[in-house]
């Protein structure tokens, strides 16, 4: 055995490229997070309220899409090549999908950034949730499409590698890391189809002026068809790290390979037919459909609870092998000085808290209490903002040496960095949840109103704002420490004594898993049937009521109108036509 960069030098290059793309997004997105948190809490306001939404869009898109997905294509490439013990089939194809993802990101970022420049008639301040009637410049939709096509080709690359491996190993079980990648990509294909349809059939032609208006509820429903499943696209790679890395770093073995397979199969089946739970307050979707979706959503707690059990049991196995004893005493035997372990373990702990606020979001009646409030922002900063982001950062401390062949610059800084993230997020997220309970809205630049005060039962709004500003600042410092550490690592010298490229062994291995778990066609078919059951009637009823193209209301801002003016002006000036 040896380090990844020595085993697969060409693939290590692509993983490095994906990581750097991801880290650039993290740096810019993190800085915008700081700007936002200080503006909202009225600590420092140096831009207009309107620019806040441009900042919010860029923060959301860069962190939720670019940072997460670039990172995950890196570790998925690692997982496929390491567990199948073979390189990718055609590296030109690999660079093609990486290139498409990069070009797509840049194209989507241009109109968002142009939103800051008043003299350029181009903007895309539509937030990460880019459904109608908010309208972006066509370039934004085009960029997103190219990015998503890049991820589809990445999936094809991994499937192809697996199929070639399978021909050579007809009787072997799919290795667990590969199994995780394949199931995750299958539901990504299924769920991203919704956003592809939304963009290609409606939003892009609408922004080009081909359609006069679109059915706003239809584009919302198609967005959330993708918008909930995408959270599992971020989360599954984090789960993969918890299953494959945490047991090993803890000094133990993965408790159960079959349970891990069951979890990923459940996510493949259940992650998509749940999107309407983001629309509990939408008029135009009948209560009965919402109830079905709520039921699906609560079933989805099952694989996360299975994960909590399996991952904690694997850590406990390590702790007991290291001499830990007692009901709780074993926790002391875990390697808390290792930033990789501590980062991932704290991310898991935060995810347990997120499980609670997620249950509140998922309940149809209690959801009315928190819908569209700051609570929801607190919730997803625990999930994607910590369970995923902190796991990725902690995992980077293992991956960056593996793919560069260099020693981690500073382990103590890394440990402080993950702790700082945990502390910062505790302040920020907890205060956001509490503010949400008071009714403080989300997606609002200046949430203070003349003649109205939010009443805090405990503490005060000023205290909550102070905690949010403090937390946000600590998180930004944590991002800076992280980036400094990975950059300094990358510029260091090559070393020869890197740990081997390995992942956790299992207590109960693949041979104990029923063969049917590896039947990807069966699970995909069930997933498709569930999607058809959950979505056919709601979509038909939305179209039946409003038509395919309405009711939509006027687009905001009127991009198509301004484009028409440009064309008319160009024709008048004799430039074209």
């Amino acid at each position: 055995m040896s380090a990844y960069v020595d085993q697969f030098p060409a693939e290590a290059r692509i993983v490095r490229a994906a990581f750097w793309s991801s880290f650039i997004a993290l740096g810019v997105g993190g800085l915008l997070g700081l700007v936002q948190v200080l503006h909202r809490t009225d600590v420092v306001r140096f831009m207009s309220g309107a620019d806040y939404y441009t900042v919010l869009t860029l923060h959301g898109v860069l962190l939720a899409i670019t940072f997460t997905i670039f990172f995950l294509v890196g570790i998925f490439t690692w997982a496929i090549t390491t567990s199948l013990d073979r390189g990718l089939e055609n590296l030109r194809f690999t660079w093609l999908w990486y290139g498409l993802m990069s070009v797509g990101t840049v194209l989507a970022a241009i109109p968002i950034l142009a939103g800051f420049v008043g003299s350029v008639d181009m903007s895309a301040s539509v937030l990460f949730t880019f459904y109608a009637p908010m309208q972006a410049h066509p370039l934004f939709y085009l960029g997103l499409t190219i990015f998503v096509v890049g991820t589809w080709l990445a999936g094809a690359d991994w499937f192809r590698t697996w199929l070639v491996w399978k021909r050579e190993h007809p009787d072997e079980r799919i290795p667990l890391p590969t199994f995780m990648v394949l199931t995750t990509m299958l539901f990504w294909y299924l769920s991203s189809l919704g956003v592809a349809l939304s963009i290609l059939l409606f939003l892009l032609p609408w922004s080009l002026g081909i359609w006069e208006q679109v059915n706003a509820l239809l584009t919302r429903t198609l967005f959330w068809y993708f918008g909930h499943a995408v959270v599992y696209f971020w989360l599954m790679p984090a789960y993969m790290m918890w299953y494959l890395m945490l047991p090993k770093i803890s000094g133990g073995k993965l408790f159960s390979d079959p349970l891990a397979r069951v979890v990923f199969v459940l996510f493949l089946i259940l992650s998509t037919p749940t999107g309407i739970h983001h629309q509990y307050l939408d008029p135009g979707i009948a209560e009965g459909f919402k109830f079905i979706v709520m039921t699906n959503t609560f079933f989805l707690l099952l694989p996360s609870l299975l994960t909590a059990f399996t991952v904690v049991a694997s850590m406990e196995h390590g702790a007991r092998q290291r001499g830990g004893t007692g009901y709780f005493g074993w926790l002391k035997a875990l390697p808390w000085r290792d930033p990789i372990f501590t980062g991932m373990a704290l991310a898991g702990l935060m995810f347990a808290a997120a499980g609670f606020s997620g249950m509140i979001n998922a309940g149809m009646n209690i959801n009315y209490l928190v819908h569209n409030t700051f609570w929801v922002v607190g919730h997803f900063h625990l999930t994607v903002g910590t369970a995923v982001a902190l796991t990725f950062m902690a995992a980077s401390y293992w991956f960056i040496p593996q793919v560069t062949g260099k020693r981690l610059w500073n382990k103590s800084v890394a440990l402080w960095q993950v702790l700082l993230w945990f502390v910062g997020m505790t302040f920020m997220s907890n205060a956001m949840h509490r503010a949400g309970l008071l009714g403080v809205p989300r997606r609002t630049a200046e949430p203070q109103y003349a003649g109205f005060e939010f009443e805090a039962g405990l503490g005060s709004v000023a205290e909550l704002d102070a905690q949010i500003a403090l937390g946000g600042t600590l998180l930004f410092v944590s991002v800076v420490l992280f980036l400094a550490n990975v950059v300094m690592t990358a510029v260091g010298d090559r070393i020869d004594d890197l740990p081997d490229n390995e992942y956790a062994d299992t207590l109960s291995g693949a041979d104990d898993a029923p063969l049917v778990l590896d039947n990807l066609k069966l699970w995909t078919a069930i997933a498709v049937v569930l999607v058809i059951l959950a979505y056919t009637l709601p979509l038909l009823s939305i179209i039946d009521r409003g038509g395919v193209f309405g009711p939509g209301g006027g687009a905001f801002p009127m991009v198509a109108e301004s484009l028409r003016l440009v064309v008319v002006a160009a024709v008048d000036a004799g430039v074209i036509g």
Partner: protein, 53 residues
Amino acid sequence: MTELEREIGHDEYDPIGTLALIAVYSAILVVMWLFMYFVEFLGNDLTVVGVIG
């Protein structure tokens, strides 16, 4: 990698600590859910139609 004091195989391993942690977590979930439903949800006025002005 860390030095291990003992090797624990599949059959000797009994994840009792995991059970203890999950029991604590479940208790927290139940208490917080009861608080959210009975105090915050039923105990408050409508949040969507607040009194302004």
